[in-house]
């Protein structure tokens, strides 16, 4: 059995963990409640309270146990489910259907999501306009707010957005945890470059056709949010693509491989976020003095961010989403959260603490709206 290095343990005592949780407690209270609580809305208060407490318990446990991934994943998966539920509920309430009609396109009422961003850039540069039938400001998921949120998150977290912010990532993260052991163990790392090829093609096709081609044809998450009404062979083909890709890349392959295959093999935004990993100060580092190259980190990494060559060289690739799975899995604590400029093996606790605060705060506030909506709907059934 590998010797476990305990002198640099990341877990804290109960009191210390509470102390570290206190700033998160105060800030999330202010942000989630918005300073305005309607005391007559009992289900609303209960929902806010439960969300707030649940999030802070998760954050506390991250400090108390020294583990990151499983607590992050709980919130990440709940976020994905709650957002889909909220979207579907809204659509059914307004349109009595999960599909949007031609009228919604003509009236520019489609909610915006960050996956459109890679397709927007070239047309925005050439035509000085946004190729999406949404609202610029105001309303649900308007373009300006989503762009700001994504931009700040990607500058601060880099590809960490894919594990701490993306409200779709929780789907394949969740399915990848179904089985204890993978059925398909060997997948070539060659395919992890596919998102860059997808990015190139969707950026070009969107620029040339002036339509968001990824959203129109290949976004798997249309299967759990909203899609164009099926009124023709073309729209039926599109619906078929969405369902097939969701079934294959989000459900089946993650279950068989224990990897996040949609994020690794398709998502063009993941490709852009990989590039922004060069900007963010937060990275995962390998302390070569401690590492014995057991390669457990390579096995557990869900995004093919680690190869045996990376471990040998001590450098984690740009595909790393800082999910914490490798950090938790390493028996020698050789792989850890770090800051750029600080050598590997140094200031581990400080680096982890500051990264956790930044990333958890983002996901906590970003996800709170949809989680509260879901809880409120559940409570309204009983209260």
């Amino acid at each position: 059995m590998d010797e476990v290095i305990t002198n640099q343990s990341l877990n804290k005592s109960f009191g210390k963990s509470l102390l570290y949780t206190l700033p998160m407690f105060l800030i999330t209270f202010a942000f989630i409640s918005g300073g305005r609580i309607n005391f007559s809305d009992h289900s609303g208060i209960l929902a806010i309270l439960l969300t707030f407490l649940g999030m802070n318990i998760l954050y506390f446990l991250m400090h108390y146990t020294g583990k990151t991934d499983k607590f992050r994943a709980i919130l990440f998966i709940i976020f994905a489910l709650s957002l889909s539920f909220t979207l579907i509920k809204n659509m059914v309430a307004i349109r009595h259907s999960m599909s949007f009609s031609q009228a919604d396109i003509v009236e520019c009422k489609i909610p915006f999501c960050h996956l459109v961003i890679p397709m927007m850039i070239l047309p925005a540069a050439f035509t000085k306009s946004i190729i999406f039938p949404g609202t610029i400001l105001g309303g649900f998921a308007n373009i300006s707010s989503m762009v700001v949120l994504w931009l700040v998150a990607t500058i601060v977290l880099g590809r960490g957005f894919c594990s701490w912010g993306c409200f779709y990532g929780g789907w394949d993260d969740g399915f990848s945890r179904f089985r204890k052991k993978p059925v398909i163990k060997k997948i070539s790392g060659y395919w992890k470059w596919m998102p860059f090829a997808v990015l190139l093609m969707v950026a070009l096709t969107a620029a040339i056709s002036l339509t968001p081609t990824y959203c129109s044809w290949i976004c798997p998450f249309k299967a759990v949010t909203e899609f164009e009404q099926v009124t023709s062979v073309e729209s039926a083909a599109k619906a078929g693509m969405f369902i097939s890709l969701f079934g294959g890349l989000v459900v089946v392959l993650p279950m068989l491989t224990r990897k996040r295959t949609q994020c690794s093999f398709l998502c063009p935004l993941g490709a852009i976020n990989s590039l922004s990993n060069k900007i963010t100060p937060f990275i995962v580092k390998i302390d070569k003095k401690v590492c014995n190259e057991c390669l457990k980190c390579v096995d557990v990494c869900p995004l093919f961010a680690l190869t045996p060559e990376d471990v040998k060289s001590g450098n984690v690739s740009v595909f790393c989403s800082k999910c914490g799975k490798c950090v938790d899995a390493c028996p020698r604590k050789a792989i850890h959260y770090g800051l750029k400029g600080i050598p590997a093996g140094s200031m581990k606790n400080f680096s982890r603490n500051i990264f956790l605060f930044v990333s958890f705060l983002f996901i906590a506030v970003f996800s709170s709206g949809s989680i509260i909506t879901v809880l409120k709907s559940i409570f309204n059934l009983f209260i």
């Binding site: 800030i27 942000f31 009609s101 031609q102 009228a103 396109i105 003509v106 009236e107 520019c108 070239l122 047309p123 925005a124 540069a125 050439f126 035509t127 000085k128 306009s129 946004i130 190729i131 999406f132 039938p133 949404g134 610029i136 400001l137 308007n142 373009i143 300006s144 707010s145 762009v147 700001v148 949120l149 700040v152 500058i155 601060v156 620029a207 040339i208 002036l210 339509t211 963010t280 100060p281 937060f282 800051l339 750029k340 400029g341 600080i342 050598p343 680096s351 500051i354 990264f355 605060f357 930044v358 705060l361 983002f362 506030v365």
Partner: protein, 148 residues
Amino acid sequence: MKKLKIAAGILWAILCLILIIVLFPGLNTFSSNVSRMPFMKINHNFTGGEAAEQKIMENCTLVIRKPVFDGLIGERRHGFVQLDWRGRIPEILSDTIDYDMDMKPDFAIRINRTESSTVLHSMNPKVKGTGISTPTSYGWSVRVKIIK
């Protein structure tokens, strides 16, 4: 040099921390500022173009928009012209449209809202057919395909 790198890394991390803390309370302000940027407007291929003419009828208004030929660079050969009927629109909509303002009618359109049928009679070889024809929250919209 090593100490400088460490200090720079920590400083950048702290700046990111501050950025995340101000992001959510300041989201409305940041969004408003971003929305004022020159490229933050929806492409005409989705909005239908600017209004060119308004015809006020008995109970409703017909808005004839400018033809849209927007392409990535310059204009495309194929485009459309959008018509919006707004207000208390009748069951049958029937109008003759001159979209290019040359005082000659270009097409006649008849919409039966009950049957959701749209019939287009072209009087100009540039008019190629009906694209979208749909009820909207304000009435009815049609996009007629045209060429330059």
